[in-house]
């Protein structure tokens, strides 16, 4: 699905009523009511059902059920080692690269189980892009960094300049780099490099963008720019973010999920989680009293 289709498919009110209808507080939704209408299923970007993950003999994710709505920012919070980054990486099969990793259950992106047979993992990672904790531009020019993805996905040469400009504009970087596109990407500041990585992700037109602590190495100004950017991007993309910064999660996300020891403890609208969490463990963590 491209950005325009996604934007026009559902209004904000539709999404709200959808949220009210399914109630994100209920993490065992599928156990209770597996028969969702096709209309509702269309509004879920990602559905996770009974997901279990092991690293060797260590179970890192336990019976996770979670829906991630389209065109929202969904934050994953929890103490170090709770499984949130592992969970994030299951959404574009980044865990496949870990030799002793075993996964059971379903992760459906736009209704399709990405752990099903015959899934093209490269195609999946185009649909579900990822931005990492540390900005990792390629050691090439700013322009080439953005052009690289579309090129390997077979986009014609004449389309590339337009994609580069559009991606840099969407990542709020165009005005800062338009006169030096041929300069090395590594000459950019840390915050600019991170926005370049976001632009690189946008260039291949994903449906979902996964952010793994994207601002942890950035100063408050750069962090603010990334957060504003995410708020803009959610109009066209679904965003899932792992963050240790509780206030960042509270500021930017629409929904949040709290993980602890590989379990999904609580999920719901961000305001609900941060104003009146239902589980004592969630409250203990977000108020800084344990974790």
């Amino acid at each position: 699905m491209n950005a325009t289709e996604s934007k026009n498919a559902f209004s904000y009110e539709d999404t709200l009523s959808f949220e009210n209808a399914i109630g994100f507080e209920n993490k065992y939704l599928y156990e209770q009511d597996p028969a969702f209408s096709p209309e509702m299923n269309r509004k879920k970007a990602i559905e996770v059902k009974d997901l279990n993950l092991w690293y060797g003999g260590n179970q890192a994710l336990k019976k996770i059920y979670l829906d991630i709505p389209k065109n929202k920012i969904f934050s994953l919070i929890g103490p170090s080692g709770c499984g949130k980054s592992t969970f994030l990486r299951t959404m574009n099969r980044m865990n496949d690269m870990i030799s002793n990793c075993r996964i059971e259950g379903k992760v459906c992106v736009d209704g399709e189980n990405i752990y099903g047979k015959g899934i093209d993992v490269t195609g999946l990672r185009k649909r579900v892009g990822m931005v990492f904790q540390k900005a990792n531009p390629f050691p090439m020019s700013i322009y080439e960094n953005i052009a690289y993805g579309p090129k390997i996905h077979g986009v014609s040469k004449k389309e590339i300049p337009g994609i580069v400009e559009e991606s840099l504009r969407c990542a709020a970087l165009w005005d800062e780099v338009k006169d030096r596109l041929k300069e090395p990407a590594l000459s950019l500041s840390g915050g600019q490099q991170q926005r370049l990585c976001i632009a690189r992700t946008l260039a291949v037109k994903p449906e979902v963008i996964l952010f793994d602590e994207p601002c942890s190495a950035l100063d408050p100004i750069s962090t603010g720019k990334i957060e504003e950017l995410m708020a803009e991007l959610k109009k066209d993309y679904t965003i899932v973010i792992v963050t240790h910064n509780m206030h960042q999660a509270a500021r930017i996300s629409d929904c949040a999920a709290f993980f602890l020891s590989g379990e999904l403890i609580e999920t719901g609208k961000t305001a609900q989680i941060f104003e009146n969490p239902q589980d004592k463990r969630t409250e203990g963590y977000i108020t800084g009293r344990f974790g």
Binding site: E275, E283, I286, T287
Partner: protein, 216 residues
Amino acid sequence: MMRSNYDSELTKMREDIILMSRISTNMFEQCMRLFFDERAVSIQNLEEMKKQQEVIEKEIERTAAKLITLQQPVAKDTREIICAVLIAADWMKISSHITDISDISVLCTEKIELDSEEWKMLRLIKDAAEKMLNGAAEAYRTRNTDKALFTAETDDEIDRTLWKMWNNFPESGGGSSFSFYPLMIAEHIERIGDHAANICEEIMYLEKYEQVRLNN
């Protein structure tokens, strides 16, 4: 270490609120003696207690601003801090009404006819307000939302009695036997009841995360 300091500052703020509630209830009791028990009560003492309240209220505001800025509280901690500021302001306003009532005692030079209808009604209002102040103080101290709801119900009793007092007020602007002072005092007590009901609302928000309207 950081969190234990944070927790101890929150605890101190709660204790300050409880102290304010004790001072206000004590002030109310002393102030009412001025009229009903004919015992000598120093108005100066009430003023000093009010000043003490002002110092505590400022300290609560200062702590709240510091905790919000430095600790960035969430969940119940946020409500705890917001409610501390609101409740402190309500106790402060209660104290101000009490000192206003004590000022009326200076103006009231006439002989108080405690058997008259208006003074009897004032006593009813005073008893109800006393019940509300003690109830609100206890509900906060014990975090008892049932007690808060029950306490707030008494506010209607005060409003009804005040309404009756106004209805008894002579249309001519006061007959020879009518004293205006009980009505003036009752107006202040009615406002005290409103602030006590506000405190009960704040306890509901603090404990249940429910914004209820108890002060009608």
